[in-house]
């Protein structure tokens, strides 16, 4: 079996022997069997049914709702009555800041929409960048030679295992005015009332929670690289940095891109940390609101408008995923390699 690693692609998978995995899979022609398709259909049916129910239906319904008007006040009874068809009004409300005939003024929920989008993207970019760098560093350390892997593994899994709600409360405590963060840093920052301090606090807690996880994923990629390659490179006189950039990075790239993709999507969908840490669950501080928080805020008063917003969020997330897959080569659906 060749040592050099190329990114397995769909086309390779069926015609070449698998490069990883215990045995080579028989060529496609031998496998194809009319009974298999039927069997497969039966096996897959429950999953498809479930997904239709838990995702397909709600999404479709949300889209339908997004074209409905919210409750309005009936002048005669002064009570709220259901609204009618709204066309694209709800979408215009968010995207174009339209409140009725006027532009939404600061102080309305919609006025904060683009700012919230920016904050969400900001969190995604900064958190993921930090996690990537730190995670890589951790992975390289974990790839080294030492005793006590069990302890290390356990330590690495602890942040992942703690529910995010608990993490949020823990760091909320750490960053309290009299908390240990201020004590260790010798500062008196009111972390959660200052815009940037609050954002920093959220990023710190997210990075704490997820860097070890990133490290594990990257480590898995690193462990596929055989030491012989490094040996050969060393013999050829490559420096540590050159070995890193010419061997490690390219070979780890597939695992890395997938990890990056899912982490980015995770942060774009982030809710727990900012909601619980700022505003004690109400998430009222626009300074640290993410799209998910905005949706939840809106659900409290205007369902249909919230449905439009959550559809926009959903489209946004998929757009980012699409860009990752198309342009950055995140090879997520891959039949022959180790992943998926």
């Amino acid at each position: 079996m060749a040592v050099e690693q190329t990114t397995p692609t769909i086309d390779d998978a069926d015609t070449e022997p698998r490069k990883t995995g215990r045995r080579a899979r028989p060529a496609r022609r031998e496998q194809l069997d009319p009974h298999q398709s039927r069997r497969a259909a039966l096996l897959i049916a429950p999953t498809i049914a479930l997904l239709l129910i838990v995702i397909g239906y709600p999404v479709a319904r949300a889209v339908w709702m997004s074209f409905q008007q919210d409750q309005s006040l009936d002048p005669a009874t002064q009570m709220f009555v259901p609204g009618g068809f709204a066309g694209l009004d709800n979408y215009k409300h968010w995207l174009l800041q339209q409140c009725g005939d006027a532009t939404c003024a600061p102080g309305t929920t919609a006025a904060g929409f683009w700012e919230v989008v920016w904050i969400t993207v900001f969190f995604a970019v900064v958190s993921v960048a930090i996690e990537l760098v730190l995670g890589f560093w951790f992975a390289i350390i974990m790839n080294g030679k030492f005793r006590g892997r069990g302890l290390l593994r356990a330590a690495v899994l602890v942040p992942w295992a703690i529910p995010t709600a608990v993490t949020a409360k823990l760091w909320y405590f750490i960053f309290a005015y009299d908390g240990i963060a201020n004590h260790l840093l010798g500062t008196h920052i009111v972390w959660f009332s200052d815009k940037w301090a609050a954002r920093a606090a959220i990023i710190v807690s997210d990075v704490w929670k997820t860097t070890p996880f990133m490290a594990l994923l990257i480590l898995a990629g690193l462990q596929l690289i055989s030491s012989e390659i490094y040996e050969a490179a060393k013999v050829d006189g490559a420096s540590a940095w050159q070995r890193f950039t010419s061997i490690t990075l390219p070979l780890v790239k597939p695992a890395l891109m997938v990890a990056l993709l899912f982490r980015t999507l995770d942060v774009l969908r982030m809710y727990d940390l900012p909601a619980i840490m700022t505003g004690g669950g109400a998430g009222d501080g626009n300074d640290t609101s993410t799209l998910s928080i905005l949706v939840v805020q809106e659900v409290r008063s205007n369902f249909n408008s919230a449905a439009a917003l959550s559809t926009l969020t959903f489209l946004f997330v998929f757009l980012v995923a699409f860009m990752f897959i198309r342009f950055l080569g995140a090879n997520v659906v891959d039949d022959g390699g180790r992943k998926r």
Partner: protein
């Protein structure tokens, strides 16, 4: 390079380092120190905040902000507060709720997932990629988009605050997770198994039940753990669709009402956090190797 060159699979279950050691001269002292230093940093990274949470949970409320690194003013009061029910908290009930929701979601995810994963990993059929794509799309799905329509729907049919109202949306992320993880595990299994079973006269169904499943048991077990932890962790959907009686621990912790009238009940919340986390830590410690294998093999979701 000859075919005797080792690949990663040959190291499954073995420390890669030992192989490295066999073909290298003794590493210099400074390099070992550097490595151990790095390991120490990572261990501290993961454990220190958690340690602080535990220490605080044993600390008397009056001394919430004491910064002594080791336990001082030790008391069990906080844990008592956590389980008190006279202020509208029902933490014990929240724990039970989390268990129920987690268990049911895991079972559903496993059952549907094991069948789908088997098909995706071992069978060839048309539309395979569409299915893979659909599952992938589901794993990228923002849960918040479920809240609005489900809230309205459940409210209309009187399901607000029921267990099913919480389990159904949880399936949306647990199912893709189980499918991915199990697909990876199934792929790792030798191909000859089905052939051998066929030769022995077994039908595909029997082959599946008697040969494949038992061998996949460890993978199933790991997947169950990952799925359970994912469901246990969930907050957003639970906070919007549960009510007082069915809220899981994540929501209970976030809205904890303390015993002292004017102080944010930090120590009690830390105690609650400790209670919630300990079973997960135990799970993690007991099955760390499996969990790491599972996470890196199939599940990329956090």
């Amino acid at each position: 390079m000859a075919t005797t060159t080792a690949t990663a699979e040959d190291f499954a279950g073995q420390d890669r380092a030992t192989h490295y050691e066999a073909s290298q001269p003794k590493t210099p002292f400074w390099r070992t120190t550097r490595t151990y230093l790095g390991v120490l940093i990572i261990v501290l990274w993961g454990l220190l905040p958690f340690y602080w949470m535990v220490v605080t949970s044993f600390r008397d409320l009056q001394f919430t902000f004491d910064t002594t690194p080791w336990p001082t003013h030790v008391t069990l009061d906080n844990f008592r507060t956590v389980f008190e029910t006279n202020r509208g908290n029902h933490f014990g009930r929240a724990l039970v709720n989390s268990l129920i929701i987690g268990a049911v979601t895991t079972v559903i995810g496993l059952v549907a997932g094991v069948f789908a994963a088997y098909a995706l990993a071992r069978l060839d059929f048309r539309g395979k990629y569409v299915v893979l794509g659909v599952v992938l799309g589901a794993s990228m799905f923002p849960g918040v988009a479920l809240v609005t329509p489900l809230f309205q729907l459940f409210r209309n049919i009187g399901w607000f605050g029921t267990y099913q109202a919480l389990i159904i949306p949880d399936i949306s992320f647990v199912l893709p997770l189980t499918i991915y993880t199990l697909t990876a595990f199934f792929r790792e299994m030798p191909w000859e198994l089905e052939e051998a079973a066929k030769i022995d006269g077994a039908t595909p169904g029997q082959a599946f039940r008697k040969v494949i499943l038992p061998l996949a048991a460890p993978g199933l077990f790991t997947t169950a753990i990952l799925a359970f932890i994912a469901a246990w962790n969930e907050f957003l959907i639970a906070s919007q669709l549960s009510n007082d009686r069915t809220q899981p621990v994540t929501v209970a912790i976030a809205s904890f009402t303390g015993s002292q009238p004017h102080v944010e009940p930090y120590t009690a919340v830390m105690a609650a956090g400790t209670v919630v986390t300990i079973p997960l830590i135990v799970l993690v410690l007991a099955f760390q190797k499996r969990i790491v294998d599972g996470l890196t093999a199939g599940g990329v979701k956090g």
